[in-house]
Protein backbone atom coordinates (compact mmCIF):
# COMPACT_ATOMS: atom_id res chain seq x y z
CA UNK A 1 0.00 0.00 0.00
CA UNK A 2 1.10 3.53 -0.78
CA UNK A 3 1.71 6.03 2.00
CA UNK A 4 -1.41 6.39 4.10
CA UNK A 5 -3.74 9.37 3.50
CA UNK A 6 -6.79 8.43 5.54
CA UNK A 7 -6.65 6.16 8.55
CA UNK A 8 -9.95 5.57 10.32
CA UNK A 9 -9.73 3.29 13.36
CA UNK A 10 -12.75 1.85 15.15
CA UNK A 11 -14.93 4.87 14.42
CA UNK A 12 -18.24 5.12 16.29
CA UNK A 13 -20.75 7.87 15.55
CA UNK A 14 -23.87 8.14 17.62
CA UNK A 15 -26.59 10.75 17.29
CA UNK A 16 -28.29 11.62 20.54
CA UNK A 17 -31.40 13.65 21.14
CA UNK A 18 -35.06 12.70 20.87
CA UNK A 19 -33.97 9.38 19.35
CA UNK A 20 -30.58 7.74 19.58
CA UNK A 21 -29.12 6.43 16.35
CA UNK A 22 -25.94 4.39 16.15
CA UNK A 23 -25.01 5.64 12.71
CA UNK A 24 -21.45 4.29 12.51
CA UNK A 25 -20.32 1.23 14.43
CA UNK A 26 -16.69 0.23 14.69
CA UNK A 27 -15.69 1.37 11.23
CA UNK A 28 -12.10 0.91 10.17
CA UNK A 29 -10.94 2.15 6.81
CA UNK A 30 -7.67 2.98 5.08
CA UNK A 31 -6.92 5.01 2.02
CA UNK A 32 -3.52 5.55 0.43
CA UNK A 33 -2.31 8.80 -1.14
CA UNK A 34 -3.94 9.31 -4.51
CA UNK A 35 -6.22 6.29 -4.15
CA UNK A 36 -9.87 6.34 -5.14
CA UNK A 37 -12.33 4.44 -3.00
CA UNK A 38 -16.04 3.99 -3.51
CA UNK A 39 -18.18 3.70 -0.40
CA UNK A 40 -21.10 1.65 -1.58
CA UNK A 41 -24.35 1.12 0.25
CA UNK A 42 -28.04 1.93 0.38
CA UNK A 43 -29.63 4.98 1.97
CA UNK A 44 -29.07 5.15 5.70
CA UNK A 45 -26.06 2.85 5.71
CA UNK A 46 -23.85 5.63 7.08
CA UNK A 47 -21.92 6.58 3.93
CA UNK A 48 -22.62 10.28 4.15
CA UNK A 49 -22.15 10.31 7.91
CA UNK A 50 -18.68 8.87 7.38
CA UNK A 51 -17.81 11.70 4.99
CA UNK A 52 -19.23 14.36 7.25
CA UNK A 53 -17.31 12.95 10.20
CA UNK A 54 -14.14 13.22 8.14
CA UNK A 55 -14.84 16.95 7.75
CA UNK A 56 -16.25 17.29 11.28
CA UNK A 57 -19.48 18.68 9.82
CA UNK A 58 -21.86 16.91 12.19
CA UNK A 59 -23.55 19.08 14.84
CA UNK A 60 -21.22 18.68 17.85
CA UNK A 61 -23.97 18.97 20.46
CA UNK A 62 -25.98 16.06 19.12
CA UNK A 63 -23.16 13.80 18.04
CA UNK A 64 -20.90 11.49 19.99
CA UNK A 65 -17.83 10.37 18.12
CA UNK A 66 -15.47 7.62 19.25
CA UNK A 67 -12.38 6.08 17.68
CA UNK A 68 -9.57 7.69 15.73
CA UNK A 69 -9.30 9.47 12.41
CA UNK A 70 -6.02 10.56 10.90
CA UNK A 71 -5.81 12.38 7.61
CA UNK A 72 -2.29 12.97 6.36
CA UNK A 73 -1.01 12.56 9.90
CA UNK A 74 -3.47 15.09 11.37
CA UNK A 75 -5.65 13.87 14.22
CA UNK A 76 -8.98 15.07 12.83
CA UNK A 77 -11.13 14.48 15.90
CA UNK A 78 -9.12 16.86 18.11
CA UNK A 79 -9.02 19.75 15.62
CA UNK A 80 -10.81 22.94 16.58
CA UNK A 81 -11.05 26.63 15.79
CA UNK A 82 -8.63 28.00 13.19
CA UNK A 83 -6.87 24.66 12.71
CA UNK A 84 -10.19 23.03 11.82
CA UNK A 85 -11.04 25.83 9.37
CA UNK A 86 -7.63 25.48 7.77
CA UNK A 87 -8.11 21.71 7.49
CA UNK A 88 -11.51 22.04 5.87
CA UNK A 89 -11.24 23.08 2.28
CA UNK A 90 -7.44 23.11 2.14
CA UNK A 91 -6.57 19.54 3.21
CA UNK A 92 -9.91 17.91 2.56
CA UNK A 93 -12.83 19.23 0.58
CA UNK A 94 -16.21 17.96 -0.39
CA UNK A 95 -18.51 17.82 -3.40
CA UNK A 96 -22.14 17.69 -2.33
CA UNK A 97 -25.03 15.72 -3.71
CA UNK A 98 -27.20 18.67 -4.76
CA UNK A 99 -25.05 21.42 -6.22
CA UNK A 100 -28.07 23.72 -6.52
CA UNK A 101 -28.53 23.62 -2.76
CA UNK A 102 -24.86 23.57 -1.78
CA UNK A 103 -24.08 26.95 -3.35
CA UNK A 104 -25.20 30.22 -1.80
CA UNK A 105 -27.91 31.60 -4.11
CA UNK A 106 -27.06 35.26 -3.62
CA UNK A 107 -23.34 35.19 -4.44
CA UNK A 108 -21.90 34.70 -7.90
CA UNK A 109 -20.20 31.35 -8.43
CA UNK A 110 -16.88 33.10 -9.05
CA UNK A 111 -17.12 34.93 -5.74
CA UNK A 112 -17.84 31.65 -3.95
CA UNK A 113 -14.78 29.95 -5.38
CA UNK A 114 -12.62 33.01 -4.78
CA UNK A 115 -13.84 33.20 -1.20
CA UNK A 116 -12.48 29.75 -0.42
CA UNK A 117 -9.19 30.46 -2.19
CA UNK A 118 -8.71 33.72 -0.31
CA UNK A 119 -9.37 32.07 3.02
CA UNK A 120 -6.73 29.42 2.50
CA UNK A 121 -4.13 31.13 0.35
CA UNK A 122 -4.39 34.64 1.75
CA UNK A 123 -4.17 36.29 -1.66
CA UNK A 124 -5.89 39.38 -3.06
CA UNK A 125 -9.42 39.40 -4.41
CA UNK A 126 -8.22 39.78 -8.00
CA UNK A 127 -5.74 36.92 -7.73
CA UNK A 128 -8.41 34.74 -6.16
CA UNK A 129 -10.79 35.58 -8.99
CA UNK A 130 -8.20 34.58 -11.56
CA UNK A 131 -7.67 31.31 -9.68
CA UNK A 132 -11.43 30.81 -9.83
CA UNK A 133 -11.40 31.47 -13.56
CA UNK A 134 -8.57 28.99 -14.01
CA UNK A 135 -10.54 26.37 -12.05
CA UNK A 136 -13.67 26.92 -14.16
CA UNK A 137 -11.49 26.27 -17.21
CA UNK A 138 -10.11 23.09 -15.70
CA UNK A 139 -13.59 21.69 -15.08
CA UNK A 140 -14.32 22.46 -18.76
CA UNK A 141 -17.01 25.06 -18.34
CA UNK A 142 -17.57 26.83 -21.64
CA UNK A 143 -16.99 30.62 -21.71
CA UNK A 144 -15.74 30.62 -18.11
CA UNK A 145 -15.23 34.43 -18.02
CA UNK A 146 -18.99 34.88 -18.33
CA UNK A 147 -19.89 32.04 -15.99
CA UNK A 148 -17.71 33.51 -13.27
CA UNK A 149 -20.22 36.28 -12.75
CA UNK A 150 -23.28 34.03 -13.00
CA UNK A 151 -25.41 33.23 -10.00
CA UNK A 152 -26.24 29.61 -9.17
CA UNK A 153 -29.84 29.88 -10.40
CA UNK A 154 -28.57 30.88 -13.82
CA UNK A 155 -26.67 27.60 -14.37
CA UNK A 156 -27.86 24.06 -15.10
CA UNK A 157 -27.39 21.20 -12.65
CA UNK A 158 -24.44 19.77 -14.56
CA UNK A 159 -22.75 23.18 -14.75
CA UNK A 160 -23.33 23.71 -11.04
CA UNK A 161 -21.73 20.39 -10.21
CA UNK A 162 -18.71 21.41 -12.28
CA UNK A 163 -18.59 24.65 -10.31
CA UNK A 164 -18.83 22.64 -7.10
CA UNK A 165 -15.91 20.49 -8.22
CA UNK A 166 -13.92 23.59 -9.21
CA UNK A 167 -14.63 25.01 -5.75
CA UNK A 168 -13.61 21.80 -4.02
CA UNK A 169 -10.33 21.51 -5.92
CA UNK A 170 -9.40 25.20 -5.97
CA UNK A 171 -7.15 24.87 -2.92
CA UNK A 172 -5.55 21.63 -4.14
CA UNK A 173 -6.74 19.37 -1.31
CA UNK A 174 -5.05 16.03 -0.68
CA UNK A 175 -8.41 14.35 -0.23
CA UNK A 176 -11.66 14.90 -2.07
CA UNK A 177 -14.92 13.64 -0.59
CA UNK A 178 -17.69 13.20 -3.12
CA UNK A 179 -21.14 12.62 -1.63
CA UNK A 180 -23.22 11.06 -4.41
CA UNK A 181 -22.17 13.86 -6.76
CA UNK A 182 -24.13 12.50 -9.70
CA UNK A 183 -27.35 11.36 -8.03
CA UNK A 184 -29.21 14.63 -8.63
CA UNK A 185 -28.17 14.88 -12.28
CA UNK A 186 -29.56 13.65 -15.59
CA UNK A 187 -28.18 10.33 -16.79
CA UNK A 188 -26.18 11.85 -19.66
CA UNK A 189 -24.71 14.52 -17.41
CA UNK A 190 -23.82 11.89 -14.80
CA UNK A 191 -21.36 10.24 -17.17
CA UNK A 192 -19.73 13.56 -18.02
CA UNK A 193 -19.27 14.43 -14.36
CA UNK A 194 -17.84 10.98 -13.59
CA UNK A 195 -15.37 11.22 -16.44
CA UNK A 196 -14.42 14.72 -15.36
CA UNK A 197 -13.80 13.58 -11.79
CA UNK A 198 -11.65 10.71 -13.03
CA UNK A 199 -9.58 13.00 -15.25
CA UNK A 200 -9.13 15.59 -12.53
CA UNK A 201 -8.11 12.90 -10.09
CA UNK A 202 -5.33 11.86 -12.44
CA UNK A 203 -4.35 15.47 -13.06
CA UNK A 204 -4.29 16.57 -9.42
CA UNK A 205 -3.40 13.25 -7.83
CA UNK A 206 -5.60 13.65 -4.77
CA UNK A 207 -7.20 10.78 -2.92
CA UNK A 208 -10.94 10.42 -3.45
CA UNK A 209 -13.66 8.86 -1.34
CA UNK A 210 -16.70 8.53 -3.51
CA UNK A 211 -20.00 7.76 -1.87
CA UNK A 212 -22.59 6.12 -4.07
CA UNK A 213 -25.39 3.59 -4.06
CA UNK A 214 -24.81 2.80 -7.71
CA UNK A 215 -22.45 -0.11 -8.41
CA UNK A 216 -21.99 1.05 -11.99
CA UNK A 217 -20.72 4.40 -10.77
CA UNK A 218 -18.43 2.74 -8.24
CA UNK A 219 -16.87 0.56 -10.93
CA UNK A 220 -16.43 3.55 -13.21
CA UNK A 221 -14.50 5.77 -10.80
CA UNK A 222 -12.78 3.73 -8.15
CA UNK A 223 -9.82 1.42 -7.64
CA UNK A 224 -11.24 0.09 -4.41
CA UNK A 225 -14.72 -0.56 -3.08
CA UNK A 226 -15.92 -0.68 0.50
CA UNK A 227 -19.48 -1.90 0.96
CA UNK A 228 -21.31 -0.39 3.93
CA UNK A 229 -24.28 -1.77 5.76
CA UNK A 230 -25.82 -0.45 8.98
CA UNK A 231 -22.84 1.74 9.79
CA UNK A 232 -20.23 -0.92 9.22
CA UNK A 233 -18.03 -2.01 6.37
CA UNK A 234 -19.13 -5.52 5.45
CA UNK A 235 -16.82 -6.08 2.53
CA UNK A 236 -13.75 -4.36 1.15
CA UNK A 237 -11.34 -5.01 -1.67
CA UNK A 238 -10.17 -3.77 -5.01
CA UNK A 239 -12.94 -3.04 -7.47
CA UNK A 240 -11.95 -6.15 -9.41
CA UNK A 241 -12.12 -8.41 -6.38
CA UNK A 242 -15.43 -7.12 -5.13
CA UNK A 243 -17.14 -7.17 -8.51
CA UNK A 244 -15.74 -10.48 -9.74
CA UNK A 245 -15.87 -12.30 -6.44
CA UNK A 246 -18.37 -10.77 -4.02
CA UNK A 247 -18.27 -12.77 -0.79
CA UNK A 248 -20.74 -11.03 1.48
CA UNK A 249 -24.41 -11.93 0.89
CA UNK A 250 -25.28 -8.23 1.00
CA UNK A 251 -22.79 -7.39 -1.76
CA UNK A 252 -24.21 -10.22 -3.81
CA UNK A 253 -27.71 -8.91 -3.20
CA UNK A 254 -26.65 -5.50 -4.45
CA UNK A 255 -25.17 -7.05 -7.58
CA UNK A 256 -28.28 -9.08 -8.22
CA UNK A 257 -30.45 -5.99 -7.77
CA UNK A 258 -28.59 -4.28 -10.57
CA UNK A 259 -30.68 -3.49 -13.62
CA UNK A 260 -28.13 -4.76 -16.12
CA UNK A 261 -29.10 -7.90 -17.93
CA UNK A 262 -32.64 -8.00 -16.65
CA UNK A 263 -35.17 -9.00 -19.27
CA UNK A 264 -38.28 -6.93 -19.78
CA UNK A 265 -41.20 -8.04 -17.64
CA UNK A 266 -38.99 -9.99 -15.29
CA UNK A 267 -39.18 -9.13 -11.60
CA UNK A 268 -36.19 -7.22 -10.29
CA UNK A 269 -34.08 -8.96 -7.69
CA UNK A 270 -34.58 -6.62 -4.79
CA UNK A 271 -33.14 -7.50 -1.39
CA UNK A 272 -36.17 -8.26 0.80
CA UNK A 273 -36.74 -6.24 3.95
CA UNK A 274 -35.33 -2.92 5.06
CA UNK A 275 -32.15 -1.85 6.85
CA UNK A 276 -32.29 -1.86 10.66
CA UNK A 277 -33.19 1.33 12.52
CA UNK A 278 -29.93 1.29 14.54
CA UNK A 279 -31.53 2.53 17.73
CA UNK A 280 -29.28 0.12 19.57
CA UNK A 281 -25.73 -0.81 18.76
CA UNK A 282 -25.76 -3.99 16.70
CA UNK A 283 -24.68 -7.01 18.77
CA UNK A 284 -25.06 -9.52 15.93
CA UNK A 285 -24.82 -9.41 12.16
CA UNK A 286 -27.02 -6.49 11.10
CA UNK A 287 -27.79 -8.13 7.80
CA UNK A 288 -28.96 -11.43 9.28
CA UNK A 289 -32.70 -10.54 9.25
CA UNK A 290 -32.53 -10.07 5.46
CA UNK A 291 -29.88 -12.66 4.68
CA UNK A 292 -30.85 -15.84 2.79
CA UNK A 293 -27.92 -17.67 4.43
CA UNK A 294 -28.48 -16.55 8.00
CA UNK A 295 -27.90 -19.12 10.74
CA UNK A 296 -28.35 -19.02 14.49
CA UNK A 297 -24.69 -18.05 14.85
CA UNK A 298 -25.32 -14.93 12.72
CA UNK A 299 -28.03 -13.74 15.12
CA UNK A 300 -26.00 -14.50 18.24
CA UNK A 301 -22.74 -12.57 17.83
CA UNK A 302 -21.00 -10.17 15.52
CA UNK A 303 -19.64 -11.96 12.46
CA UNK A 304 -15.90 -12.66 12.32
CA UNK A 305 -13.92 -10.61 9.81
CA UNK A 306 -12.17 -12.75 7.22
CA UNK A 307 -9.03 -11.34 5.64
CA UNK A 308 -8.20 -13.60 2.69
CA UNK A 309 -5.49 -11.19 1.44
CA UNK A 310 -4.05 -7.84 2.57
CA UNK A 311 -6.67 -5.06 2.25
CA UNK A 312 -9.41 -7.51 1.43
CA UNK A 313 -11.91 -8.31 4.15
CA UNK A 314 -15.41 -9.68 4.54
CA UNK A 315 -17.46 -9.56 7.73
CA UNK A 316 -19.43 -12.78 7.32
CA UNK A 317 -19.20 -16.33 8.60
CA UNK A 318 -19.81 -17.59 5.09
CA UNK A 319 -16.93 -15.62 3.59
CA UNK A 320 -14.67 -18.65 3.35
CA UNK A 321 -17.24 -21.03 2.02
CA UNK A 322 -18.88 -19.26 -0.87
CA UNK A 323 -22.41 -20.45 -1.39
CA UNK A 324 -24.70 -19.30 -4.11
CA UNK A 325 -26.83 -16.41 -2.92
CA UNK A 326 -29.80 -17.39 -4.99
Amino acid sequence: MKESLVDIQNLDVRFTGARTVHAINDLTLNLGQGETLALLGESGSGKSVTLKTLLRLLPPKRTEIGGKIQVNGTDVLTLSGKALQQYRGAEVSMVFQEPALALDPVYSVGAQIAEAVRRHKGISRDEAMSTALDMLRRVRIPSPERRLRNFPHELSGGMLQRVMIALALACRPRLLLADEPTTALDATVQIQILLLLRELQREFGMGVIFVTHDIGVAVEVSERIAVMYAGQIVEEGTTQEVIKDPRHPYTRGLMAANLHGVARGERLNAIPGAPPSLETRPAACSFAPRCPLAEDACRATLPPVHVPSPRRRIACIHANAPVSAE
Binding site: S93, M94, P105, A116, R119
Partner: protein
Protein backbone atom coordinates in the same frame (compact mmCIF):
# COMPACT_ATOMS: atom_id res chain seq x y z
CA UNK B 1 -31.01 48.25 -12.80
CA UNK B 2 -32.24 51.67 -13.94
CA UNK B 3 -34.56 49.98 -16.43
CA UNK B 4 -35.96 47.90 -13.59
CA UNK B 5 -36.55 51.07 -11.58
CA UNK B 6 -38.37 52.71 -14.50
CA UNK B 7 -40.53 49.62 -14.99
CA UNK B 8 -41.51 49.59 -11.34
CA UNK B 9 -42.19 53.30 -11.52
CA UNK B 10 -44.57 52.82 -14.45
CA UNK B 11 -46.31 50.01 -12.59
CA UNK B 12 -46.77 52.33 -9.63
CA UNK B 13 -48.74 54.86 -11.70
CA UNK B 14 -52.07 53.00 -11.80
CA UNK B 15 -51.72 52.31 -8.07
CA UNK B 16 -51.23 56.00 -7.40
CA UNK B 17 -54.25 56.79 -9.57
CA UNK B 18 -56.35 54.26 -7.65
CA UNK B 19 -55.20 55.71 -4.37
CA UNK B 20 -56.21 59.20 -5.42
CA UNK B 21 -59.64 58.04 -6.61
CA UNK B 22 -60.25 56.20 -3.35
CA UNK B 23 -59.12 59.20 -1.31
CA UNK B 24 -61.46 61.38 -3.28
CA UNK B 25 -64.42 59.01 -2.99
CA UNK B 26 -63.85 58.15 0.66
CA UNK B 27 -64.79 61.64 1.55
CA UNK B 28 -67.79 61.60 -0.75
CA UNK B 29 -69.27 58.51 0.82
CA UNK B 30 -68.48 59.52 4.38
CA UNK B 31 -71.67 60.22 6.29
CA UNK B 32 -72.34 63.78 7.36
CA UNK B 33 -72.24 66.96 5.33
CA UNK B 34 -69.09 69.01 5.89
CA UNK B 35 -71.02 72.21 5.47
CA UNK B 36 -73.29 71.57 8.44
CA UNK B 37 -70.22 71.73 10.62
CA UNK B 38 -69.33 75.29 9.66
CA UNK B 39 -72.71 76.74 8.72
CA UNK B 40 -74.92 78.29 11.35
CA UNK B 41 -77.80 76.01 12.26
CA UNK B 42 -80.38 78.47 10.97
CA UNK B 43 -78.76 78.97 7.53
CA UNK B 44 -81.26 79.13 4.69
CA UNK B 45 -81.26 76.78 1.75
CA UNK B 46 -79.91 79.56 -0.50
CA UNK B 47 -77.03 80.26 1.85
CA UNK B 48 -76.19 76.56 1.94
CA UNK B 49 -76.30 76.34 -1.84
CA UNK B 50 -74.05 79.36 -2.13
CA UNK B 51 -71.51 77.82 0.24
CA UNK B 52 -71.74 74.55 -1.69
CA UNK B 53 -70.87 76.43 -4.86
CA UNK B 54 -67.90 78.13 -3.17
CA UNK B 55 -66.37 74.73 -2.37
CA UNK B 56 -67.37 73.31 -5.75
CA UNK B 57 -69.55 70.67 -4.12
CA UNK B 58 -72.43 71.30 -6.53
CA UNK B 59 -70.63 69.94 -9.60
CA UNK B 60 -70.81 66.29 -10.79
CA UNK B 61 -68.29 63.93 -9.14
CA UNK B 62 -65.93 63.36 -12.12
CA UNK B 63 -65.66 67.13 -12.58
CA UNK B 64 -64.95 67.56 -8.90
CA UNK B 65 -62.26 64.89 -9.16
CA UNK B 66 -60.67 66.52 -12.20
CA UNK B 67 -60.59 69.90 -10.50
CA UNK B 68 -59.18 68.32 -7.36
CA UNK B 69 -56.39 66.55 -9.25
CA UNK B 70 -55.57 69.63 -11.33
CA UNK B 71 -55.18 71.66 -8.17
CA UNK B 72 -53.18 68.89 -6.52
CA UNK B 73 -50.73 69.01 -9.40
CA UNK B 74 -50.14 72.66 -8.56
CA UNK B 75 -49.59 71.83 -4.91
CA UNK B 76 -52.98 73.19 -3.95
CA UNK B 77 -54.86 70.78 -1.69
CA UNK B 78 -57.53 73.27 -0.79
CA UNK B 79 -58.10 75.00 2.48
CA UNK B 80 -58.86 73.41 5.76
CA UNK B 81 -62.48 73.98 6.66
CA UNK B 82 -61.71 74.21 10.35
CA UNK B 83 -58.68 76.50 10.34
CA UNK B 84 -58.96 78.09 6.93
CA UNK B 85 -55.23 77.54 6.35
CA UNK B 86 -53.94 75.79 3.18
CA UNK B 87 -54.06 72.02 3.60
CA UNK B 88 -50.71 71.47 1.86
CA UNK B 89 -48.78 73.42 4.48
CA UNK B 90 -50.51 71.70 7.38
CA UNK B 91 -50.09 68.24 5.91
CA UNK B 92 -46.43 68.58 5.02
CA UNK B 93 -45.57 70.08 8.37
CA UNK B 94 -47.34 67.20 10.10
CA UNK B 95 -45.87 64.53 7.80
CA UNK B 96 -42.40 65.88 8.51
CA UNK B 97 -43.01 65.49 12.23
CA UNK B 98 -44.41 61.99 11.72
CA UNK B 99 -41.50 61.06 9.53
CA UNK B 100 -39.13 62.19 12.23
CA UNK B 101 -40.97 60.08 14.78
CA UNK B 102 -41.26 57.08 12.46
CA UNK B 103 -37.60 57.15 11.45
CA UNK B 104 -36.52 57.48 15.08
CA UNK B 105 -38.71 54.52 16.03
CA UNK B 106 -37.30 52.56 13.08
CA UNK B 107 -33.75 53.46 14.09
CA UNK B 108 -34.48 51.96 17.50
CA UNK B 109 -36.59 49.02 16.37
CA UNK B 110 -34.78 47.63 13.31
CA UNK B 111 -31.29 47.11 14.78
CA UNK B 112 -32.75 45.62 17.96
CA UNK B 113 -35.22 43.47 16.03
CA UNK B 114 -32.55 42.22 13.63
CA UNK B 115 -30.16 41.46 16.46
CA UNK B 116 -32.76 39.61 18.54
CA UNK B 117 -34.01 37.75 15.47
CA UNK B 118 -30.54 36.59 14.52
CA UNK B 119 -29.83 35.54 18.06
CA UNK B 120 -33.03 33.50 18.24
CA UNK B 121 -32.54 32.00 14.77
CA UNK B 122 -28.98 30.97 15.53
CA UNK B 123 -29.83 29.51 18.94
CA UNK B 124 -33.09 27.98 17.77
CA UNK B 125 -35.00 25.91 20.34
CA UNK B 126 -32.79 27.05 23.19
CA UNK B 127 -33.77 29.27 26.16
CA UNK B 128 -32.36 32.26 24.21
CA UNK B 129 -34.77 31.57 21.37
CA UNK B 130 -37.69 31.22 23.76
CA UNK B 131 -36.77 34.46 25.53
CA UNK B 132 -36.66 36.37 22.25
CA UNK B 133 -39.94 34.82 21.16
CA UNK B 134 -41.53 35.88 24.44
CA UNK B 135 -40.22 39.42 24.04
CA UNK B 136 -41.47 39.72 20.49
CA UNK B 137 -44.90 38.28 21.23
CA UNK B 138 -45.21 40.65 24.17
CA UNK B 139 -44.10 43.55 21.97
CA UNK B 140 -46.66 42.80 19.31
CA UNK B 141 -49.48 42.06 21.76
CA UNK B 142 -49.21 44.91 24.23
CA UNK B 143 -51.44 47.79 23.09
CA UNK B 144 -48.91 50.51 22.47
CA UNK B 145 -51.12 53.43 23.54
CA UNK B 146 -51.40 51.72 26.91
CA UNK B 147 -47.64 51.21 27.02
CA UNK B 148 -47.24 54.89 26.11
CA UNK B 149 -49.38 55.94 29.03
CA UNK B 150 -47.50 53.64 31.39
CA UNK B 151 -44.18 55.10 30.20
CA UNK B 152 -45.55 58.60 30.73
CA UNK B 153 -46.59 57.70 34.27
CA UNK B 154 -43.14 56.27 35.04
CA UNK B 155 -40.78 58.65 33.25
CA UNK B 156 -42.75 61.89 33.18
CA UNK B 157 -45.03 61.85 36.16
CA UNK B 158 -43.07 59.84 38.73
CA UNK B 159 -39.45 60.33 37.72
CA UNK B 160 -39.87 63.60 35.85
CA UNK B 161 -37.04 62.74 33.47
CA UNK B 162 -38.77 63.22 30.14
CA UNK B 163 -41.59 65.42 28.86
CA UNK B 164 -44.82 63.72 27.92
CA UNK B 165 -46.39 66.19 25.52
CA UNK B 166 -45.62 67.88 22.23
CA UNK B 167 -42.58 68.04 19.99
CA UNK B 168 -40.67 70.82 21.69
CA UNK B 169 -40.52 73.06 24.74
CA UNK B 170 -43.66 75.11 25.31
CA UNK B 171 -45.60 73.41 22.56
CA UNK B 172 -43.17 74.68 19.90
CA UNK B 173 -43.84 73.24 16.43
CA UNK B 174 -40.43 73.96 14.97
CA UNK B 175 -38.09 71.03 15.26
CA UNK B 176 -34.44 71.53 16.15
CA UNK B 177 -31.69 69.00 16.78
CA UNK B 178 -30.96 69.93 20.34
CA UNK B 179 -31.60 68.10 23.58
CA UNK B 180 -34.52 70.37 24.48
CA UNK B 181 -36.37 69.06 21.43
CA UNK B 182 -34.95 65.56 21.28
CA UNK B 183 -36.03 64.68 24.79
CA UNK B 184 -39.58 65.12 23.54
CA UNK B 185 -38.91 62.45 20.95
CA UNK B 186 -37.69 59.75 23.34
CA UNK B 187 -40.92 58.43 24.85
CA UNK B 188 -43.07 58.39 21.69
CA UNK B 189 -40.25 56.88 19.61
CA UNK B 190 -39.58 54.13 22.15
CA UNK B 191 -43.28 53.37 22.48
CA UNK B 192 -43.72 53.25 18.75
CA UNK B 193 -40.66 50.98 18.34
CA UNK B 194 -42.05 48.15 20.46
CA UNK B 195 -44.34 46.57 17.84
CA UNK B 196 -41.82 46.64 14.97
CA UNK B 197 -39.16 45.19 17.27
CA UNK B 198 -41.43 42.18 17.75
CA UNK B 199 -42.35 41.85 14.10
CA UNK B 200 -38.81 42.28 12.78
CA UNK B 201 -37.42 39.89 15.39
CA UNK B 202 -39.99 37.22 14.45
CA UNK B 203 -39.30 37.64 10.76
CA UNK B 204 -35.52 37.59 11.06
CA UNK B 205 -35.67 34.63 13.45
CA UNK B 206 -37.68 32.60 10.94
CA UNK B 207 -35.44 33.63 8.04
CA UNK B 208 -32.15 33.04 9.83
CA UNK B 209 -33.37 29.76 11.29
CA UNK B 210 -34.46 28.47 7.88
CA UNK B 211 -31.36 29.63 6.07
CA UNK B 212 -29.08 28.07 8.69
CA UNK B 213 -30.59 24.64 7.97
CA UNK B 214 -29.91 24.94 4.24
CA UNK B 215 -27.26 22.76 2.63
CA UNK B 216 -25.08 25.65 1.54
CA UNK B 217 -24.37 26.56 5.16
CA UNK B 218 -22.77 23.17 5.68
CA UNK B 219 -20.96 23.61 2.37
CA UNK B 220 -19.58 26.93 3.60
CA UNK B 221 -18.20 25.28 6.72
CA UNK B 222 -16.86 22.50 4.51
CA UNK B 223 -14.75 24.94 2.54
CA UNK B 224 -13.22 26.33 5.72
CA UNK B 225 -15.36 29.40 6.39
CA UNK B 226 -15.54 30.77 9.93
CA UNK B 227 -18.76 31.28 11.85
CA UNK B 228 -18.58 35.01 11.05
CA UNK B 229 -18.32 34.32 7.32
CA UNK B 230 -21.30 31.99 7.50
CA UNK B 231 -23.39 34.58 9.35
CA UNK B 232 -22.47 37.12 6.67
CA UNK B 233 -23.83 34.74 4.03
CA UNK B 234 -26.97 34.13 6.07
CA UNK B 235 -27.52 37.87 6.49
CA UNK B 236 -27.16 38.49 2.78
CA UNK B 237 -29.69 35.74 2.09
CA UNK B 238 -32.15 37.08 4.63
CA UNK B 239 -31.71 40.71 3.62
CA UNK B 240 -34.18 40.89 0.75
CA UNK B 241 -37.14 39.50 2.69
CA UNK B 242 -36.22 41.31 5.90
CA UNK B 243 -36.00 44.55 3.97
CA UNK B 244 -39.49 44.22 2.56
CA UNK B 245 -40.90 43.58 6.02
CA UNK B 246 -39.05 46.59 7.40
CA UNK B 247 -40.23 48.78 4.53
CA UNK B 248 -43.82 47.86 5.29
CA UNK B 249 -43.23 48.48 8.98
CA UNK B 250 -41.89 51.94 8.22
CA UNK B 251 -45.06 52.63 6.26
CA UNK B 252 -47.17 51.51 9.22
CA UNK B 253 -45.09 53.59 11.58
CA UNK B 254 -45.74 56.64 9.49
CA UNK B 255 -49.46 56.17 9.03
CA UNK B 256 -50.37 54.03 11.98
CA UNK B 257 -49.10 56.20 14.76
CA UNK B 258 -52.44 57.94 15.30
CA UNK B 259 -52.85 56.55 18.80
CA UNK B 260 -49.29 57.29 19.85
CA UNK B 261 -49.39 60.79 18.44
CA UNK B 262 -52.65 61.38 20.27
CA UNK B 263 -51.28 60.03 23.55
CA UNK B 264 -48.16 62.19 23.31
CA UNK B 265 -49.79 65.17 21.60
CA UNK B 266 -47.22 64.79 18.84
CA UNK B 267 -48.03 67.26 16.03
CA UNK B 268 -47.77 64.62 13.32
CA UNK B 269 -49.97 63.29 10.55
CA UNK B 270 -51.83 60.89 12.80
CA UNK B 271 -52.66 63.68 15.19
CA UNK B 272 -53.76 65.84 12.26
CA UNK B 273 -55.81 62.99 10.88
CA UNK B 274 -57.71 62.39 14.09
CA UNK B 275 -58.39 66.12 14.43
CA UNK B 276 -59.59 66.25 10.84
CA UNK B 277 -61.92 63.33 11.45
CA UNK B 278 -63.44 64.78 14.60
CA UNK B 279 -63.92 68.17 12.98
CA UNK B 280 -65.23 66.70 9.72
CA UNK B 281 -62.51 68.71 8.00
CA UNK B 282 -62.80 66.96 4.65
CA UNK B 283 -60.11 68.75 2.60
CA UNK B 284 -57.63 68.24 5.40
CA UNK B 285 -58.64 64.58 5.78
CA UNK B 286 -58.36 64.00 2.04
CA UNK B 287 -54.97 65.67 1.83
CA UNK B 288 -53.53 63.78 4.79
CA UNK B 289 -54.75 60.39 3.62
CA UNK B 290 -53.51 61.01 0.10
CA UNK B 291 -50.03 62.06 1.20
CA UNK B 292 -49.72 59.09 3.57
CA UNK B 293 -50.98 56.65 0.96
CA UNK B 294 -48.65 57.97 -1.71
CA UNK B 295 -45.82 57.77 0.78
CA UNK B 296 -46.67 54.11 1.37
CA UNK B 297 -46.64 53.47 -2.37
CA UNK B 298 -43.28 55.23 -2.73
CA UNK B 299 -41.92 53.19 0.18
CA UNK B 300 -42.90 49.96 -1.58
CA UNK B 301 -41.20 51.14 -4.75
CA UNK B 302 -37.99 51.82 -2.85
CA UNK B 303 -38.16 48.40 -1.17
CA UNK B 304 -38.78 46.64 -4.49
CA UNK B 305 -35.78 48.27 -6.08
CA UNK B 306 -33.56 47.67 -3.04
CA UNK B 307 -34.61 44.00 -2.99
CA UNK B 308 -33.70 43.57 -6.62
CA UNK B 309 -30.34 45.17 -5.94
CA UNK B 310 -29.60 42.72 -3.12
CA UNK B 311 -31.05 39.46 -4.37
CA UNK B 312 -29.99 38.30 -7.84
CA UNK B 313 -32.90 35.85 -8.01
CA UNK B 314 -35.32 38.75 -8.38
CA UNK B 315 -35.52 39.56 -12.05
CA UNK B 316 -33.89 42.85 -12.81
CA UNK B 317 -34.68 43.23 -16.47
Amino acid sequence: MFAYFLRRLILVMPVAFGVSVICFLLVQIAPGDPLTAIMPVDATAEEQAAMRAVYGLDKPLPVQYAIWVAKLAQGDMGRSIASGRPVAGEVFGAVQNSLLLALSAAAIAFPIGIFLGFLAGYFRDTPIDRAVTAISIAGVSVPNYWLGIVLVIIFSVNLGWLPSMGAGPGGSQDWAWDWLHMRHLVLPAVTLAVVPIGIVARTVRALAGDILTMDFVQALYAKGMSRGDVLRHVARNAAATALSVMGLQLGYLLGGSILIETVFNWPGSGFLLSNAIFQRDLPLLQGTILVLALFFVAMNLVVDVAQAAIDPRIKRT
